[in-house]
Symmetry: C3
Subunit: 158 residues, 3 copies
């Protein structure tokens, strides 16, 4: 139960970091060799490898963050993550497997989309967590989204 | 608090079973004489009996699942449940009453709706739970939804 | 962890009170000198004071509730709050700071909007809580919403 509580806190911190646009903190949720994958459900269900984002180390994540914040030309948008309480699937030694359902809403400020909030990306997180120096971090976070049509400007990690 | 934790886990497992389309597991969340009701808020508030689904045993649920998976002709769609932490209303002997807010998003793959995820059904679960062989199960789950207009293809339980 | 649990319960009760339209209970979630603020993210981020609602005591909240239920002419609508597990930011003596992500869905019954549920207001709660007679209450609840365009009939507190 303590673990369940910790995972919910981690998910809440992760969501807040992204939604507050503290992108530079995002790689810190992972271990150095951590993986982040954002994949359509259709590909995941069929075991296909194609993914919208597949980052295989914290270094790649930092690179992505640099791209997002410094170089990629895009219309900025706000995100808002609402995440259900997680369920713990297994715990073997130091390694925990957990899943959580999420919905991300998008709001484009300044005219585009009229400032209305809309459903952006819904799915589930499939996570492997390890404890490092007393704190849980992602060894792997796989976000599998239902939406086939990803609005063409998906820029930020989910 | 332990109870609260258990209910959140149950809700997460329930949601995952439906969203992963493991429909055959769905009746197992209920006791043998369990009831599942899906009702519009308008009818619920007025005490009217009309409900979109009213299943009064696990047998009826299995029948429904058979219908959903084998016989009902429908355009398949993905669902995604996001459920708030539950609140425990009462606990009398073996029986727990609890409620939780939910939002279900729908994504129709393969063209219809363009693969965009949309708000499908929002409402609250009003639950009576009992412990059977150490595990919580629904004696009754009543899903009361706000949406008046249920998109005509509501096929799967919520 | 107990605290985290209590906050989630409080958030669930708060949401249920509003969504069940028990508006007269809403001020009771605050201390007598409690503050409720509903503010656009744009203003919040820039430190601007403009807010859609800024109520500085329970008395003002009661007044607002009176307005909502008795005097303001408006098309009624249902709300549904889905709130993520909270994260506790700090706890100093009696005072707890916490945040939670929320999404509010709106359903207009009786024709307007066709009874479809739609994303209404998404954002985060930034809360200061104190314990009064053993129960947590809001010293301050600030709801910062992403949506720039607030549908013109935002009547009820979020």
């Amino acid at each position: 139960m303590l673990l369940h509580h910790e995972i919910d806190q981690l998910n809440a911190e992760y969501a807040a970091a992204l939604d507050d646009r503290r992108f530079e903190e995002w790689p810190e949720f992972f271990i150095e060799t951590g993986r982040y994958t954002l994949q359509a459900r259709e590909n995941f269900d069929q075991g296909l490898p194609l993914a919208l984002m597949a980052l295989e180390s914290r270094g790649m994540m930092k690179d992505r963050v640099y791209g997002v914040t410094q170089t990629i030309y895009h219309g900025p948008y706000y995100t808002r993550h609402v995440v259900s309480p997680a369920r713990v699937l297994s715990q073997i030694r130091n390694e925990v497997c957990a899943e959580a359902q999420y919905a991300v809403f998008r709001t484009r400020p300044g005219g585009a989309g009229g400032g209305v909030s809309e459903v952006y990306n819904v799915g589930r997180y499939i996570d492997t967590l390890v404890r490092v120096e007393g704190r849980l971090r992602f060894k792997s976070r796989l976000a599998v989204y239902d939406s086939e049509m990803v609005l063409n400007s998906l820029i930020y990690p989910v």
